[in-house]
């Protein structure tokens, strides 16, 4: 083992060597500079590896004295962990800064080295006064480096920073002095050994001042205006060091002091961290400047790390591994991501976030940015996800539910502004491009790779055991690397990848899991064939697609709660990527992400609440305890959000309709079933164990019924074909939820039956419309018309899908309706039966509207030459049509396996007698119905065919038009505002109340944010006052 002194020696020596070498030549100076930092990072790595290998921790007293006379350093596993992280990031940041540093004089390099010395010293030192010295070293070098852009903004920001920093160090010094006075020592180890030394008034005040000073250095809300100015004005490279390495060092000091604090102090400190996390995120939503926005985000992340450490301590946890898992994970995530993002902002230059569309043309940069946003939002597979899971789990286990709620709320706000930003970046607009700069890009790539490596590390150390789950992100990245291949090749590869997943996963499933496995995986696979119909590169589809399919598999395979949530979040992320590519506006993906994340957070909250006591590592889904009820309801609420029930359906129409034409079908038919799958998995897990489930199922039933009704009702007013189908999906999801809420054998059979048929017919309809839209390049129905003449096959499949959807016998749709009504009446829910019947009658309206407006009516002049949709669009449709036909002929083939999978629940079973299925109330023989229908269809058809010779086939304008000739097809096609009279009669039911509610809520939040950020007046003196007041308030709380 190398003594930790050398870490300081290397950099201090370089401080002297660099100017000398610089005399010889610029490049020599720079070489020495980089060599020293690299050596520091290397040392850190070496130490970390050997300490992990079991080497003992080291304590070093420079010159043989103990502190404060000499410098005392301690190097344990925690120290080495932080050292390796901060030095690595420092190295990367200095590479980013290279271009700027080379223009400066040599002292800029020495300042950097001093800064690093300060950082490393803070981490290693065990003496309060030593810490003060290192902190001042860090501060002074930072003050100087902040001015590097040499503009007015940088100077004034630097000055404000100095005022606040000066105050902080003043308090630290006073605190140190008082500590010495009361305890007689400044040495941490002594203090820790006898913490009673600091009890009593003065001792408390001393400790308080030290902690307060550290907290000020960590920029707590609202006493942090100066820091934001620095983030905005400083060079992104320098700022990235401040917020990652510098903050990391101070955080570590706080970590070292944790054992000294009383419970009260810990509580207040934790509260300060949470407040910082929530409010910094809140204020960030109004921010347009990337540097400042990143500043807010950094501060919030710091707050979260503080809270993480403090709460762990509060819960009496001493295992360093847990700290590493929670605070370490959060910090590591923040470190690399924030570094990456600041460097990226350097790369993009001074543009407000709305203009980050320049990234759209740069796949690598966009990928890095996306990675950073995802990681920062705490989505899997990044360390932040695992750390948050562990943290929240501990919070829940200790009953800190409000804190949990605040963290989730703050995270949701964070997701909002980060993904909004990503949306700006992903939408290509005609902006100027940015020039290449490998010196900035390389560190970013390095940070990304390190982040991914850390993800693997964290996921391995935690409880995801199912190898398939690891494959989800891996598959995404693999397909990202395959992006340069032609689209069709990628489709085939994606089919192979997904197919193999299905082949591997399906045999291992049984019961409901198998049914949903076949639906999700099989449904996606068949519909992916349509991808072969589109040429070109099709960038950005397949990573998401494959990730989504693997997430489906993961959801079904996983047996742990964490694994389930991991797969769920991966699925959300994958589908977000899919919609991000296709959507026309940034609004849709953002809405989707917010609602999905909100739903996911509800599920998360439920899962961790339901975790059995004492299960720190992987708890199986089967072990979850739902006896309290709350957990179960939270989870179900989460799935309902994902299913898009009325009230939270805002994201739904855009999401299902705006993706690519071959992706929308999968989203709408298969992905929507993931929520159903989750609902069923958890309802069967909890069946019978949840108190008050009668009331629950009634409420769920009404939610389902109203969703069915309003989804259907809104569908009839849509002008956009895909939006109409999207709302129709919402309605069908309502039926499924309604049937599921019955909690009876027939009800669940009905729900899954509807889910299967919905998959089939909605797949057909979306693919068919997608085929049409891909030929016509418009989704407005009134611009279409008469497509039956040009696309007869698409029409045929669409018609079959439509008959199945509307529930008209003899096709499969009727079975679902019959089962549903039977179950509903059997249960005694008559009003819901009537509502469902009304909805299904209203469904005819939009059914006719879409098929008429698209396929019937007048063919438009511009579309007289379009061809039938691509054969690749038709193949999946015909596969589904065949399935529908088979299930229509022999419904038993479908109903029996489903009821077998559902098993025995409340209520009567279905009875079979030949092909007749019956229950206590009614009966249905699908086969006979089909036969009779075909019979009665043939008779008139034969008669008409006998007269076919006398019938002249005419063209579209040969219509009776009050003896006039039609003017143009556009004015002859009745399609726009098709159900105007319905609006007149029932328009009040379709007022956009939900949208107004959410928009109102959004505006309310953003006004709060707008008001809050006026705290940051920009005046250094105000900031100083805020610091003083903050400390006072903190004191009052902690006392």
């Amino acid at each position: 083992m190398v003594s930790p002194v050398y870490l300081l020696v290397v950099t201090i020596a370089a401080v002297f060597l660099v100017p000398l070498a610089d005399r010889i030549g610029r490049s020599y100076g720079m070489s020495v500079f980089y060599a020293a930092i690299a050596a520091a990072a290397g040392l850190g790595l070496f130490w970390f590896l050997s300490l992990r290998g079991g080497a003992p921790a080291q304590n070093v007293f420079i010159a043989g004295f103990t502190g404060p006379y000499a410098i005392q350093l301690q190097l344990g596993i925690a120290e080495s962990f932080v050292i390796v992280l901060v030095n690595t990031v420092f190295l990367l940041a200095s590479i980013v800064l290279g271009g700027a540093l080379i223009k400066e004089k040599a002292y800029a390099l020495t300042l950097m080295l001093l800064m690093l010395t300060g950082i490393n010293g803070l981490v290693l030192s065990r003496d309060l006064f030593n810490m003060f010295v290192f902190m001042e070293l860090l501060s002074i070098s930072t003050y100087a480096l902040v001015a590097m852009p040499r503009n007015g903004q940088a100077f004034s920001a630097g000055f404000k920073y100095m005022i606040a920093g000066g105050l902080a160090s003043t308090f630290f010094l006073i605190g140190t002095a008082f500590v010495y006075r009361t305890a007689g020592t400044l040495h941490l180890d002594y203090l820790l050994r006898s913490p009673e030394l600091l009890h009593g008034g003065v001792g408390f005040a001393a400790l308080f001042l030290v902690i307060a000073a550290l907290l000020i250095e960590l920029k707590p809300f609202p006493a942090n205006g100066w820091a934001l100015d620095v983030y905005q004005a400083g060079h992104p490279g320098v700022v990235s060091i401040i917020t990652t390495a510098g903050t990391g060092a101070v955080l570590f000091v706080l970590y070292k002091l944790l054992p000294l604090m009383s419970v009260r102090m810990l509580q207040v400190l934790g509260g300060a961290g949470i407040v910082t996390f929530v409010f910094s995120n809140l204020v960030a939503i109004k921010q347009e400047n990337p540097g400042r926005l990143l500043g807010y985000s950094s501060i919030s992340q710091t707050g979260l790390v503080i809270a993480g450490m403090v709460f762990l301590r509060l819960f009496g946890i001493r295992e360093i591994a847990v700290y590493a898992a929670v605070a370490g994970g959060l910090f590591l995530n923040h470190l690399f991501v924030k570094g990456l993002m600041f460097w990226l902002s350097e790369r993009v230059g001074p543009r407000p976030i709305r203009e980050w569309g320049v990234l759209a043309g740069k796949p690598l940069l966009l990928f890095l940015f996306g990675l950073a946003v995802v990681a920062l939002s705490g989505l899997p597979p990044f360390p932040g996800f695992w750390a948050k899971w562990e943290f929240l789990k501990l919070l829940a286990a200790n009953g800190y539910y409000p804190v949990l709620g605040f963290i989730l709320a703050g995270s949701l706000i964070e997701v909002f502004y980060l993904f909004r930003w990503l949306g700006y970046a992903a939408v290509k607009e005609d902006h100027d491009t940015i020039s290449p700069a490998p010196a900035v890009t390389l560190p970013m790539v390095a940070a990304a790779i390190l982040l991914l490596a850390a993800s693997v590390f964290f996921s391995g150390s935690l409880s995801v055991r199912e190898p398939l789950l690891r494959l989800i992100p891996a598959a995404g990245i693999l397909f990202y690397l395959l992006e340069p291949l032609p689209g069709r090749v990628k489709t085939v590869l994606a089919l192979a990848a997904s197919g193999s997943a299905a082949v591997i996963v399906l045999p291992g499933l049984s019961g409901l899991h198998l049914v949903f496995g076949i639906m999700l995986l099989g449904g996606s696979l068949v519909q992916m064939i349509a991808g072969l119909g589109s040429g070109g590169r099709r960038r950005g589809i397949y990573p998401g697609m494959v990730m989504m399919v693997y997430s489906f598999a993961g959801l079904l395979v996983t047996e742990t709660a964490l694994g389930f949530f991991f797969a769920w979040e991966m699925m959300t992320l994958a589908s977000y990527l899919l919609i991000l590519r296709g959507s026309r506006s940034a609004r849709t993906p953002l809405l989707y992400m917010i609602f999905s994340t909100g739903g996911a957070f509800l599920i998360l909250a439920g899962l961790i609440t339901a975790l059995p006591a004492g299960s720190l590592s992987s708890a199986g889904l089967g072990d979850l305890v739902f006896s309290g009820g709350t957990a179960f309801y939270l989870i179900i609420a989460g799935f309902l959000v994902k299913a898009g029930v009325v009230g939270v359906h805002l994201w739904l129409p855009g999401f299902y309709s705006e993706a690519d034409h071959d992706v929308s079908p999968i989203l709408s038919s298969a992905l929507s079933k993931a929520a159903v799958a989750g609902l069923f998995i958890f309802m069967s897990l909890a069946n019978g164990t949840v108190p008050g489930s009668d009331m629950f199922s009634v409420i769920l039933g009404w939610i389902g019924g109203l969703t069915a009704f309003f989804g259907t009702l809104m569908a009839i007013y849509q002008e956009d074909a895909k939006r109409l189908l999207a709302f129709s999906s919402m309605g069908q999801m309502g039926y499924i939820i309604l049937a599921a809420s019955l909690m009876s054998t027939i009800g669940w059979t009905a729900a899954i039956y509807i889910a299967v048929t919905h998959l089939l017919f909605k797949g057909i309809m979306f693919l068919s419309v997608g085929g049409v839209v891909s030929r016509l390049n418009t989704t407005n129905m009134y611009e279409m018309g008469g497509m039956i003449k040009r696309m007869p096959l698409s029409f045929m499949t669409f018609l079959i899908g439509l008959i199945a959807l509307s529930g008209v016998p003899p096709l499969t749709g009727f079975g679902g309706k019959w089962l549903l009504y039977s179950a509903l009446v059997g249960k005694g829910w008559y009003m819901l039966t009537a509502l469902a019947l009304f909805s299904s009658a209203v469904a005819f309206l939009y059914c006719y509207r879409i098929i008429h407006s698209v396929f019937l009516g007048q063919l438009k002049t511009g579309f007289r030459a379009v061809k039938e949709a691509s054969v690749w669009y038709l193949i999946p449709q015909f596969i589904f049509v065949m399935l529908i036909m088979i299930f229509s002929m022999v419904p038993r083939l479908l109903i029996e396996p489903i009821s077998a999978a559902v098993g025995k629940l409340a209520g009567p079973d279905l009875l079979w007698q030949g092909n007749t299925v019956s229950h206590a109330l009614g009966y249905w023989n699908g086969t006979t119905v089909m036969m009779v229908t075909m019979g009665v269809f043939m008779v008139p058809l034969v008669w008409l065919l006998s007269r076919v010779r006398s019938i002249q086939k005419v063209k579209q304008f040969n219509i009776v038009y009050a003896a006039e000739r039609p003017d143009r097809p556009e004015t002859t096609h009745y399609a726009h505002n098709f159900f105007a009279h319905y609006t007149k009669a029932l328009g009040f039911l379709s007022l956009p109340l939900v949208r107004r509610f959410w928009e109102g809520a959004g505006e309310w939040i953003s006004s709060i944010a707008a008001a809050l950020r006026h705290l940051y007046s920009g005046n250094g003196q105000t900031y100083a006052l805020q610091v003083m007041l903050y400390i006072t308030v903190l004191y009052l709380f902690m006392r």
Binding site: F159, I163, N1019
Partner: protein, 118 residues
């Protein structure tokens, strides 16, 4: 006596704070900061003071033998020495910032440097 010194230190700190928080002129703010610094130094020294002992300097007057009983607690003094150096550095840096700021805008009123906000 010792309390008087401590009190002086505290008064100086408070004066400095008042100065920092109320004066608009940047130089005065820096002066306020200096006053705080001085106050802290005095206070630290006072914490180590033991009545009737001399400064912790090992010269002939104290002698090596039994020095520990003759001098005051040397730790605060050592701290103060370091702190003075650091305070000096910070003050110098602040002044140089003030120069830079003045060159840009020809004003030293801190209210004029609030272009970064929100």
């Amino acid at each position: 006596m010792i309390h008087a010194v401590t009190a002086t230190g505290i008064i100086l700190i408070l004066t400095g704070l008042w100065c920092m928080l109320t004066r608009k002129h940047i130089i005065r703010i820096i002066i306020g900061f200096s006053i705080i610094d001085t106050g802290i130094h005095i206070m630290i020294v006072s914490t180590g003071y033991i009545r009737n002992r001399t400064a912790p300097i090992l010269d002939h007057a104290v002698g090596l033998q039994g020095a520990a009983d003759k001098v005051v607690d040397p730790v605060p003094s050592a701290l103060v020495l370091t702190a003075i150096v650091i305070g000096l550095a910070v003050t110098a840096l602040m002044l140089s910032y003030a120069v830079k700021l003045y060159r840009r805008k020809r004003t030293l009123d801190i209210n004029n440097y609030a272009e970064l906000k929100w």
